[in-house]
């Protein structure tokens, strides 16, 4: 399955009344969901099973095409954010490039879960790069509403990690 085929599938699903489309091919699995009750031009949510390398869908030039489908970031896609995020919500973004970990060790509890309250300066996750583990601190105060990145997945600079409802 190449990128053009995936783009074509997304296009077809988004135009149809199909709400969920699942394709399994060996150990590749593609899930495309159309937002229930959404307008026909809303971006469909695309989820890839982890682990996936970071991918940016490349629309053919001349860019930027007006009807570009969701830009895929490491799973799960931040397009989910677009659908779920309220204008009031705050986002904790990654300050660096590396691998995201929810806890300080494989059998340790995660630093934060959905529902937890965080203060400014509270450690929310670890991002590891080149064997160095960096504790990432929250720059906002509030309640964790959503965790956007799966444990042990790659993250890039400025990538949204957590949605926080302000206190």
């Amino acid at each position: 399955m190449d990128i053009n085929q995936i783009q074509e599938l997304i296009r077809l699903v988004s135009k149809s009344k199909v709400t969920e489309f699942i394709l399994k091919e060996g150990d590749f699995k593609l899930i495309i969901r159309n937002q229930a009750g959404s307008e026909s031009n809303a971006a469909p949510v695309v989820a890839f099973p982890p682990p996936q390398p970071l991918m940016t869908m490349a629309p053919t030039p001349p860019p930027p095409p007006a009807a570009a489908p969701a830009t895929v970031a490491p799973a799960p896609a931040p397009a989910a954010t677009a659908a779920a995020v309220d204008a009031n919500m705050l986002t904790i973004k990654s300050p660096m490039v590396g691998t995201f970990y929810r806890s300080s060790g494989p059998d340790k509890a995660p630093f934060v879960k959905v529902g937890d309250s965080v203060e400014v300066g509270a450690t929310v996750c670890i991002i590891e790069a080149m064997k160095l583990f960096n504790e990432i601190e929250s720059d906002v105060k509030g309640k964790i509403v959503k965790v956007l990145v799966e444990d042990a997945s790659p993250v890039e600079y400025d990538q949204p990690l957590f949605i926080v409802e302000p206190a």
Binding site: P53, L54, M55, T56, A58, P59, P61, P62, P63, P64, M96, V97, G98, T99, A129, M130, P154, V155, E156, Y157, D158, Q159
Partner: protein, 447 residues
């Protein structure tokens, strides 16, 4: 062959490298700062990683961030492009330690050619002609006069702590020497608090002619002939061409041989450029060696029909070069199109390009990362496109460049297109009558 190459650069060169990767079946990873989110290189690469905020120190010059991107994408090679970290021996060293192949020379080769004094020593030992001069500072007038007699007038006295033309004096004959020596010292002391002076032969009507070279991991080296880059403004190249209108087959052979000597002296790995100054008598002198791919590599590609980026990648992957030398079969000229206002002292003109139409047609090549609707960020250099034409003769190439420049429409920002249009019409340029001082004396605004 590599499976995945991370391009540690941006703009048109990143795109250039990605294109060759695609042709070679190698995956490409683009890195970008938040200011470059909409850049073409991000869209064309197979994968893209945002590594930092706009400032180069936090992104394209930031080794830890770049290595983190190498780590999470599992790139097995890194292409540094030109500028940024391309000639940073430390970065090459870090890549080596990490185990990802730096597409370029070894850290040691970068260091040896990066230091002007070491480079000159290496070249002299290899039998490559260098600008004759004093070795270090001149003790006194007597030593100076003696040396000047050996080197031959004219000579130039230069402040060792100097720059910006201060503390520099040309001496045309022995009777002037003492006077110019005193003036240079006084000026140097006033400007830099250091009156140390050294001397070099003054190259009359110097042309900047460089030789493209390639060396593999097995000790073989070759040259791909010259590019004339004499049209410069404040030491920045604006126009490059091949073959040089000043070249002769004999001179090309001698310069080519010297360039190959420079490579074999250090066992050079990769593609590179040996820059020479050529005086009006066709004596040539080593200036410096650039241990990377250059902006104007495109000119050589057009006259020899060769993919230099592909060659770089092959060399890095341990594939030997043919060992043949290559000679221009056509004539090519490149104009660097910068987002600058040529009528206002070439002031940079970043901003949103509202309309962009680049020239096309037979013998026209445009390497660019911009498009209509793109906003040029103010954080990086101002070059937005390279316009290269190729034709059978130099006259035809100039005519084609004029036609192409007339078709080049960029709205929303100022560009140097009008400057190039006037240059193409200039009589001296058309005759091939120019050296590096050309733009100092040509008042193009009233051309």
């Amino acid at each position: 062959m590599f499976k995945k190459i991370l391009i540690a650069n941006r703009g048109e060169i990143a795109l250039r490298i990605i294109r060759t990767c695609k042709e070679m079946g190698v995956k490409s990873v683009a890195i970008y700062s938040t200011a470059d989110r909409d850049s073409l290189h991000v869209r064309f690469a197979d994968e893209a990683v945002c590594i930092g905020p706009p400032a180069s120190s936090e992104s394209y010059l930031n080794i830890p961030r770049i290595m983190a991107a190498v780590e999470i994408t599992n790139a097995d090679a890194v292409h540094p492009g030109y500028g940024f970290l391309a000639e940073n021996a430390n970065f090459a060293e870090v890549c080596k330690e990490y185990g990802t192949k730096f597409i370029g020379p070894t850290p040691d080769q970068i260091r040896r050619m990066g230091d002007k004094i070491t480079a000159k020593e290496t070249m002299l030992a290899a039998g490559v002609p260098c600008i004759p001069g004093s070795e270090g500072l001149l003790e006194d007038v007597k030593t100076g006069i003696k040396l000047a007699k050996e080197i031959g007038y004219p000579v130039i006295l230069k402040a060792t702590a100097g720059g910006g033309g201060k503390g520099m004096r040309i001496v045309w004959k022995e009777s002037e020497f003492e006077n110019q020596w005193e003036t240079a010292r006084r000026e140097a002391k006033a400007a830099f608090a250091n009156d140390g002076i050294y001397m070099e032969k003054f190259i009359e009507e110097p042309r900047h002619i460089e030789i493209q070279v390639a060396g593999d991991q097995f000790g073989k080296a070759c040259h791909l002939s010259e590019r004339d880059c004499s049209i410069q403004r404040r030491h920045q190249k604006l126009v490059e061409e091949s073959p040089s209108p000043f070249m002769t087959p004999e001179l090309r052979e001698k310069m080519g041989e010297a360039a190959i000597k420079a490579c074999t002296a250090i066992n050079y790995e990769g593609v590179g450029t040996v820059e020479f100054l050529v005086d009006k008598y066709r004596n040539f002198y080593f200036m410096e060696m650039n241990t990377r791919i250059q902006v104007e590599h495109t000119v050589t590609e057009e006259v020899i029909d060769f993919d230099l980026i592909k060659e770089q990648i092959k060399i890095a992957a341990g594939i030997p070069i043919s060992g043949k030398n290559y000679f221009p079969e056509m004539h090519a000229i490149e104009c660097r199109i910068n987002a600058e206002d040529p009528f206002n002292d070439f002031r940079p003109s970043p901003g949103r390009i509202t309309s962009f139409h680049s020239p096309k047609g037979h013998g026209v090549r445009v390497d660019t990362h911009v498009y209509g609707g793109y906003t040029i960020p103010p954080y990086y250099d101002s070059m937005i496109a390279k316009l290269i034409v190729r034709a059978r003769t130099r006259d035809e190439a100039i005519t084609k460049m004029e036609r192409a420049l007339d078709e080049f429409i960029v709205e929303g920002v100022k560009t140097t297109v009008p400057f190039h249009q006037r240059l193409m019409q200039n009589a001296d340029f058309r005759k091939g009558n120019f050296h590096t001082g050309f733009l100092n004396t040509w008042d193009f605004k009233n051309a």
